[in-house]
């Protein structure tokens, strides 16, 4: 019996390494869990892209849930995500606020003109300073903010039809159940 101990040890290591390989294929290693989920969205005041004299703030957006979608004209994955927002955006049930991240206003406008504008409004964070408060570390990222200004869901990377169906819509449905 005792001479089988090394063999079982070996099996254990094989199982461990096997699990490691499986685990790495199952989740995106780049994904950093957001500590902001179920916490109040950071207070922000940002100018609108189309009219920088007007600002939008967390407090001015209170009252109804909305989705913040971080995008930029320089961001390649945003180009992949964009058609999905164009077709699915109307159907998710909450307005989408475009968050133009570290972009030149002219580039961003040209990009929206060329590809279409799925956003209810677009706010611009040229410096990316507010994005640090949101824990943004790339684009695209999306935050679902509820009527009380609390972040309820975050997606890192592009929204795909699959993600919208399996994650975003249930999260939105949960909000609507809460607020009759």
């Amino acid at each position: 019996m005792s001479r089988l101990v090394p063999f079982f040890g070996f099996l254990l290591l094989v199982a461990l390494f096997g699990f490691g390989i499986w685990w790495n294929t199952q989740h995106d290693q780049r994904e950093v869990p957001s500590p902001l989920i179920n916490k109040a969205a950071p207070a922000y005041v940002l100018p609108r892209l189309d009219d920088p004299t007007q600002t939008v703030s967390r407090d001015s957006m209170l009252g109804k849930p909305y989705l913040i979608n971080v995008f930029a004209s320089w961001c390649i994955a945003c180009g992949e995500e964009h058609p999905v927002l164009m077709t699915e955006g109307q159907r998710i049930g909450v307005p989408i606020v475009g968050y133009n991240y570290k972009d030149e206003p002219g580039d961003a406008k040209a990009w929206l003109d060329r590809h279409g504008n799925p956003y209810a409004m677009v706010i611009a964070d040229h410096e990316g300073r507010t994005a640090i408060d949101f824990g943004v570390y790339g684009a695209p990222e999306s935050f679902l903010v509820d009527a009380k200004g609390v972040i309820r869901y975050k997606r890192i990377g592009p929204l795909t039809p699959d993600v919208i169906e399996k994650e975003l819509k249930p999260a939105i449905a949960a909000l609507q159940k809460e607020a009759p």
């Binding site: 101990v5 950093v32 500590p35 300073r129 640090i132 570390y137």
Partner: protein
């Protein structure tokens, strides 16, 4: 002797040029050397979110530059190292720390290797004990079978 001097001079020049290079990436207005050392140490303990195997000090990513500036400004406003780290953890989770804190989800990470080592030691000790007991017995059959 002259060759030695020359290589020393060269080494000094190279050392100087790396300092200049490091400054060129991020010309931050440190008020003295101690402050710069503190900044370097702190940013070395923080992970760059974009290129996840690099620390904030070494990374050339745009976000890393922003976060270095943020760390610098927090230092200027008199925040302690712990407060600065907490500020980043609040936004980017424990992931930004190269040394994750000891807590439920990281127990295995911190003590797993020690546990495996102890388990191995236990196997070795019991094996040796058993062998000794067999040796002490009158019928030491296994011993020297193959010889």
């Amino acid at each position: 002797m002259r060759a030695l001097l020359r290589s020393l001079a060269l080494a000094a020049l190279m050392a100087l040029s790396t300092v200049v290079l490091a400054q060129a990436i991020d010309p931050l207005p440190f008020k003295d050397h101690a402050e710069e050392v503190r900044f370097q140490k702190l940013t070395r303990e923080l992970r760059c979110l974009v290129c996840q195997n690099e620390n904030l000090a070494d990374s050339n990513a745009d976000l890393a530059r922003d976060l270095r500036r943020e760390v610098f400004q927090l230092m200027q406003s008199g925040k302690s190292d712990a407060e600065i780290k907490q500020y980043l953890v609040d936004r980017y989770s424990d992931f930004v720390l190269y040394d994750p804190p000891v807590q439920g989800s990281t127990l295995l990470l911190w003590f797993g290797p020690l546990a495996i080592l102890l388990a191995g030691a236990a196997v070795v000790v019991t094996t040796i004990r058993k062998r000794n007991r067999n040796d002490a017995g009158p019928a030491a059959n296994d011993e020297g079978d193959d010889w």
